[in-house]
Structure formats: structure tokens, C-alpha cells
Point group: D2
Chain length 292, copies 4
């Protein structure tokens, strides 16, 4: 049993169910938890897969009961956990199975050690800015979504451009014909934003990065707005289908004339940091950033 | 009546039927043709719209009967004409209605003058290289298509990467996770290729440009292959839908394991050049290339 | 005479002496000032050129005597004024003669109106972050300089790379072979940083942008650090000459083994904003940013 | 002694004299040559360093006497050999000591084997296009130089832009303010051109790549000209010093009003290709092109 007083005693567990290693590691966590008198809660399907149906907890309940969420998977699984915990202040410890993630930066090797440090209150927790994207149609709010990485407005059909008008406080910022437009948080700057040519932003900063996807004009360039900027995007007539996608998951179908408002969210995500790695080390290892 | 001996006496006419100016200009051409004893042929729907149903000619017949194809529309209408004329050596005179196109570089003002010069054999005709894209599934050819601008393999769902393996004569060239991959002709280098960050190539050159769309890795960069390169792209498992799109129009749905072979086509497109504009002038005017 | 109570009554004047319009506009300001009982001070050479040798004031004195500095020239003249005012809180009103500057955003037309608003305390003043670059050789500080736009470490001989090791708190960030490395403030993000491929950052933000100049490796990408980051650059052996240049002006010759520390300065520059233009309007007008 | 009839019996040897491995490998070659009755010629300084002063041959004589030039060094040493052999058709076999070069693609391990294949006429020889850059001042030719990689017009003082007007057959192509302008051959596309953001071109192609270095405007983009294009660059007033540099070595100081003509050279470089590596393999290994 852990010899130190614990600040956290109830943990949630989310696993990438299709991945054998995730299930095996979940079993390890469950054994370790029992030995150390830590309560564990799983969402119903995960509980089933891990062979502990009694620990199944409805997603809504989960965030009220736990002190810490452990994610066994990749960045995609962690983003699902972020949506599940929205509105709570439960921190997330992401374990990467295979490869290295920006969000799941703890390796399976160092995981139990990191978990123990976390329960003892000795891990570093970073507050990460999130985005809110609100869709208005005919002046009426029809959708409101959240993103830890990015809110992307894009064509539903690649190679068919869409037309967007970007404004801030009624002032025109730019008019754009492109495959899409990415609004990324600093955390999301190393995700889709990077593929589209955007800059890397240190993840605890608070700014909004706007990067076009395959813009029709040569003079475009990513721009970084202050975090308190409320950006409005008016959807034009061009193209056939247009979508708003949050964190590569949640999608809203957009129509010409729709207004998408993108701004800093009141919500945040709290991430447990690995004790032994700097952000720059992850950049170099995962992206070969500035490495040969 | 034209005072010079004419080398071409039968012209085809394709128009963007939704565009009023195209229909009006078609009427002007028809009047001019009658006056000058030039025969005109239109595809059935265009003949209907222009009010000359008697001149309707099936697309298959069209390319056999005409000496010159006149396109009244934009680059999209011209690309449709290219597909219609495939396999013939009929040159195309593209007139741009509104704006300026790379393929339709003649303006409505200078059009009749350019047409007369062309019929007299005094216009410059450029032979433009095309691409062939052949799709093999289970070793069997299932599709073969042609493109004047580009053959693009892309995700059917933006922001969901696909996985591609590029080989030349069995040698690995690169392995790629991206939104897609563009193979452009020099003519197409100023189309989608440019939006994705590719270089401009003088249009009468003969090379194949390969440019990734939002690649997952930082070290990617466009590459230019010799025209006689046969490039093979093996489609990976990643992603949900994958498409091959030719000139932004014709599409083939791809499956994991499919092989797409991209190479220089035996077909060419012959374009009438405007008498008064250099390529660099079009670059500066249309793209504001290297202009403030 | 101005009908409003004035918050500022003594102005400094710096002009681009080679420019006729600057000298003419200086005469206009001097007349206006006399009429409105505003005291004017000029640095000795400017006073000579403007034909008012009696108003000559040593640069050191200038910043103690004035409430406002008026710059008649371009962004380069304004950067010289910034160096002259270092350590004071005197705001700067930059008038652009010909073209449009990011720092000198007031046009000659609107200038007197903007000046009067400023003296009445009605203009918006923006505090702009600056950088400090300290050079250590053999552990000893040998130079300390300031920049409003950028601190650039670069080869003294273009096309001959230099080698740099970037560290933060002893942690390696990256190792670089390149023509140089730019550290830009948000204000400087639209200067040299933009030419080298860096992102645009809204100018009142507080971050440090690091952008390589012609890096040897493909995987490089600009990165944005928090404003409180102390960045250390170790100069390598490669190349023949290496320089540190501040705001494109002040230069320090660097040697292998030197350590350059770049960080947010304790100093700031206070800029008077034009009453009628947004930052995005300047971006579009001056850079044709995202415009055709 | 080599058991096959030899097509080449006299080889030149150039070595990077500061490099121990080069000197050691030169000794190996000399021993091997004596055993196989191959004549070896060295330029005087190299002969001295290798301890064989009797084999010293003036550079001018060298290219007349030899059938093959062997280069022991890196890409820089090979470029020096190219200049020495200008006007002859002697092929070059480049051996890379440490790392991998694009020009010196044969490793020390495989070297003797590759040399024997070459002497037997069994190696693949590639003809590589070169550039000629002619400088005119006041209508008079003042310099004419050659390059295998690139001809670069650049500021003598980084971060101080120069102004260039590019024309083809008197037609304006573009007007540019930048740190410089690169004209690269396909061979040189992976050298400085790549650092400045230019595309990779398969090395046996015949085109001219023009890529700006840190251009002042956002809308710039590399462009690829046909090989028979004669490009004229007029040097503007801006800046203090301007240089023309060929292959990163030979330099010509330029003045405002000078005209630099860049075109395909009548000379070519003939390179021996390694038997066991494709170009794409070198791209991936040396540049980590498109690799993580």
C-alpha cells in the first residue's frame, strides 16, 4: 500500500477498448488499485471490456465521483475523456500505448510511478485553454461545442473550396476561399494546425491560432489572436457541403449564411504532466521537429 | 466576311449555360459565324440554351466534325471540354467571362479578334501534357481516367488522414499520412497544387509535380518527377473514405490495398494562347504572384 | 489655439532628414506648435535641417523634457526614436511619409488631427513588449541591447550557414544549422519574421516568436514561447562570421562559444494608435495579407 | 590486377586535405592503382599532402590527362573539382567521408568496388545541367561564371533587403525586395534552394528553379522555368552591398544597374552514380525527406 497520505483516492479509467495493451494495462491498474485501496470507476463499456462490470458508472456520474481520470489509449481517447469531463475540474492522466502523444505524454513504463506521484499531489498539473464554437442560423443559436485542440470549418468535399468571411467586432479581418479554416488552441497547435502549415505555440499560452487549409490565394499566412478575441466567421455560398468539426470528432453541418463564433471557452482541461520530459523533448521525439 | 483564306471552318461551341454572358456571347458568335460562313456545332443542351436546337450535335460526334472548340465560361467549363475532346487533336480557345483563368486566358473584349486570327492559322497553339491515372484492385484494372490539371488522391472526410505508400519501379519513394496527395501537370501547377503549397511550373514543361495536402510530418516538401516516371500509390488502411479525383470532377472511390498508377498520358490538350499576354502577366494579374 | 485643456505640452520631433516631405511636415508642425503654444524639441541634426537650430536638444536631454515624441519618417526612423527614448515612458506618434508602416500607421493627412487628439489625452496608447539580448563571452557579459521588433543572430556571409544550439533553463530546445535565427516580438512579427516564414501575432500580445532563416533541415517550423521564457543560444564553430542584429540596426559580432540570452525586456515602447484604422486593415493594406 | 579490360586507365584524385580520412583513403587508392597499373594524377597541393609529390599535375593539365576524376571529401570538394574540369567531359566519382552527400553519394565502404565498375565502363553516368551567370555593367560583360548547384544574387548584409527586377525577353516577370534570389539547377534543388523553401527536382531533369530568399511580400512562391529560358535580373538601388555567388564559392560584387543573365550552360557535369542507391533513398537518408 502506498506509504504516503493521498490527496486523490477515487480514479476514473477510460480505455481504448480495441487495443489489447489498453485492456491489459487496465487490469494492472485495477490490481494496483485494490492493493492500495483506491476506488476505480469505469464507463459501462470499458468496465465490460475490462471484466469488471460492477465498476460500471454512467458517464454523467463519473465526473462527479472521481478525483482523477486515467486515460489508456492515444490522443483520440483522451479527447473523448475531455468531452466526458467538460465542466468539471478533474485532472486527466494520459498514458500512451505505442508511440508518444502530445496529450498522452506518459509512457506505459513510467505510468504507475507517475500515477502514485499524482495521487500524492506531487505531479505538475497544467491548465489548458479550450475553445467554444457557437453556430448561429438566422440569428438563432443552433449549436455550441467545445474543443481542446481545434475548431475547424471545412468543406465536406475536399478539392471543392468554400468561402468564408472572418470578422472581429464587426471589423472585417479577411475574406477567404479555401478548403477550410482552423482555429487552434496552443495545445492544438501541434495537431491539425501543424499539418496545414501553422506555427507551434507553447501549450500553456493563451492565444487563438487561425490557419487556413489550402487557401486559394498566395498571400495567406497564419495569424495569432489574443485569447479574449471573439472571432466571427460568416459562411458563404460557394461549395456544396460545409462542416464544423471540433477536435476531429463532433461535427455540425453548416449552411450559407450561418455565423460561427469562435472564442476562448470558460472551460479548461487540466492535464497531468510527465515528471521527466520537457515539451521540447516531446516536440523533437514525436515530430522530429527541427531534427534531421 | 473574313478576307483571308481560313484553315479552320467548323467550330464547336461549349458554354456555361447558367451564365447570361455566356449565352449572349454565344449569340454573337453564331451571328458572326453565319456572316462569315463558318459552321457551328453545339452539344445538345448548349444548342437548346442558345436557341439553335438545329445545331445540336452529340458529344461523340462533335470532336469528329470540328476544327476548333470555343469555350465560353471559366476554367471548369474548359476542363469539361477537354474531357469531351479526349483523343482528338482539336485545339481549344477558352474565353473567360469575368475574372481571368489560366486555361481561359482570352477576354471577351479580345475574343473575336483572337478567333479570327486562329481560323487564319495565326494563333499560337500550345500542346499541354496530361496525366493518366489507372486504378488497380486485386491486380485488375478497374478505372482509367485523364486529367489536364491534376489527379488527387484524398480523404473523403477532411481532417481524417489517409495513408499512402508511393513507389517508383518498386522502389519506395515515400510513406505518407496526410489529407491527400496531388499529382499535377505543369498546367495544373497553378490550380490546387498552389493552394497546397506546391511550386509554379511553366505550363509547356513536361514534368509531374507531387505535393502532399496537410501532411502529418514536418519534413515533407513538393517534388518534381520526370514526365516519363510511372508512379504507384498504394492505398493504406487508415481513414474511412478515400477518393481519386481528376481535374476536380471525375471521382473514383478507393479501397485499402488499391493501387493507383499515375503517369504522363498519351493524350494532350491543345490550347490557343492569347496573342497579347505572357504567362507571367497572367500569374501577376490572376494570382498577384510576387506582387504586393 | 487648441480649445481644449492639454495633457501634453512639450513634444519632441525626429525626422528622416534626407526626405523632403519630412522637412516640410516638420515646418508645418513647428508653425502649428507656435500657434498653439506647444514647446518643441529636436535632436541637434534635425533642428539644423529644419532650420530651427535654437530648438536643438541633446538626445539624452530630449527624453526628460518631452511628453510626446513625434516621428516623421518610416518604421526605421521610429526604431531610432525607440532607442533614443529607452527607459522613459514617453509615447511615440509615428507619421508615415509614403506608403504605410506598421509602427508609423498615421498618414500625413490625418496627422494634425491625431496629434491634437493625443495632446488632449484622447488617443489610444498601446504598450508594446520589447526584447533584451545579452551576449556572454567566457561567462562575462559583453553586450546588452534592446529591440522593439527583433533580435536576429545571423551569418555575416549569406549562403554560409552557422550553427546554433538553443536551450531553455539548460534543457535543449533545438540544434540548428541555418543562415540565422530570428527572435521577434509580436510587434516585430510582421517585419523580418514574416519574410522568413513566421506567423503574424497580434501586436499587443506578449510572446516571443522564434523563426529560423533558411534552415538546413526540412522539419523546422516557427515556435512561439511564453513571454517569460529566457532563451539561451550557444554559438557553434561553423561559418566564418556571425552577427547579432537588433531591430535591423545595432550589431554585435559574435564568436564561437558565445552565449546569447534573449528575453522579454523590462522596457516597453508606448505607441500612439491611429484613431481610424484596425490592425487587420493595416495588414490587408500594407501586406495584402490574405488578399488577392 | 583487375581481370577485365579497362575503359579508363588514368584517374585524377582530389582530396579534402584537412581531413585525415581523405588522406588515408588517397593512400589506399594510390596502392590499389599501382597494383592495377592505373595512372594517378593529383593537383600539386593534394600530391604534397598525400606524400606523392611526383604525381603533382597543374590543374590545367589535369583535365586533359585523365579519364576519371575521383573526389575524396564532401559536396564542397566535388564542386571545386567541377570548376577545375569545366569544359572537359571527364566524369567525376565522389566519395563521401562522413555523412552522405547528394553529389558524393558513394560511401567509403563501397568505393573501391564502384571505382572498379566505373573503370570497366559498368557504372551509370548522369549528365547534369549547369548554369551560366553573366554580369553586364553599362552594357559590357564584366564576368561569366558557371554553377552546378546554384547562382545566388544576395544582399551582402543579411537583414538588409535588396531590390531586383526579373525579366525574360524584355517581359517583366517580377519585381522583388528580398534578402536574395536563388537560381538552382535540378541538382542544386536539394542544396540552398531547399533551405529557402524551394521544391525538390529530380536531378537529371533540365529546368531552372527560381526561389526567393526571405521575400518582403507574402505572395511569392518558387517558379520553375524551362531550361532554355534566358533570365535577366536588373539590380536595384536598395541596400548597401549585393553579391552574386556561384555554388556557394565564386563571388562577384554587384552594383545598382548591373544586369545578371542566368541561363543553361553549354557545359555539363558528368557524375558517376552509386550502383546501389536510388535518388529517393538519398533524399530520405540525407534529408529525412517526408520521414518522421
Amino acid at each position: 500500500m502506498l506509504g504516503f497520505p493521498l490527496l486523490m483516492k477515487r480514479i476514473g479509467l477510460i480505455l481504448k477498448r480495441e487495443k489489447k495493451e489498453a485492456v491489459a494495462l487496465a487490469r494492472t491498474v485495477l490490481d494496483w488499485a485494490q492493493k492500495n485501496r483506491i476506488e476505480v470507476f469505469l464507463e459501462p463499456e470499458g468496465a465490460q471490456t475490462a471484466g469488471v462490470p460492477k465498476l460500471a458508472t454512467p458517464p454523467d456520474e463519473l465526473k462527479k465521483r472521481i478525483d482523477l481520470m486515467v486515460v489508456l489509449g492515444g490522443d483520440g481517447t483522451l479527447l473523448a475523456a475531455v468531452r466526458m469531463l467538460l465542466g468539471s475540474s478533474v485532472p486527466i492522466l494520459g498514458v500512451n500505448l505505442g508511440g508518444l502523444g502530445f496529450l498522452t505524454a506518459v509512457s506505459t513504463d513510467g505510468f504507475l510511478n507517475c500515477l502514485e506521484l499524482t495521487l500524492q499531489g506531487k505531479s505538475k498539473i497544467e491548465n489548458r485553454m479550450m475553445l467554444t464554437a457557437v453556430v448561429f442560423r438566422g440569428g438563432k443559436k443552433i449549436a455550441e461545442n467545445y474543443a481542446l485542440n481545434d475548431a475547424v470549418i471545412h468543406t465536406g468535399q475536399l478539392a471543392r473550396m468554400i468561402e468564408l468571411e472572418v470578422r472581429i467586432q464587426s471589423d472585417k479581418v479577411t475574406h477567404l476561399m479555401a478548403d477550410g479554416l482552423i482555429f487552434a488552441t496552443p495545445t492544438g497547435s501541434t495537431a491539425y494546425n501543424l499539418s496545414a502549415g501553422g506555427p507551434i505555440v507553447y501549450p500553456t499560452e493563451e492565444v487563438i491560432v487561425m490557419t487556413p487549409i489550402c487557401p486559394h490565394i498566395l498571400s495567406n499566412r497564419p495569424i495569432i489572436f489574443p485569447a479574449d478575441t471573439e472571432i466571427e466567421v460568416k459562411i458563404g455560398e460557394m461549395g456544396e457541403r460545409r462542416l464544423l468539426t471540433l477536435d476531429g470528432q463532433t461535427g455540425v453541418s453548416l449552411e450559407p449564411g450561418d455565423l460561427v463564433q469562435v472564442k476562448k471557452s470558460v472551460h479548461r482541461t487540466r492535464l497531468i504532466m510527465p515528471p521527466d520530459k520537457t515539451y521540447y523533448e516531446i516536440l523533437r521525439t514525436k515530430l522530429s521537429w527541427a531534427e534531421r
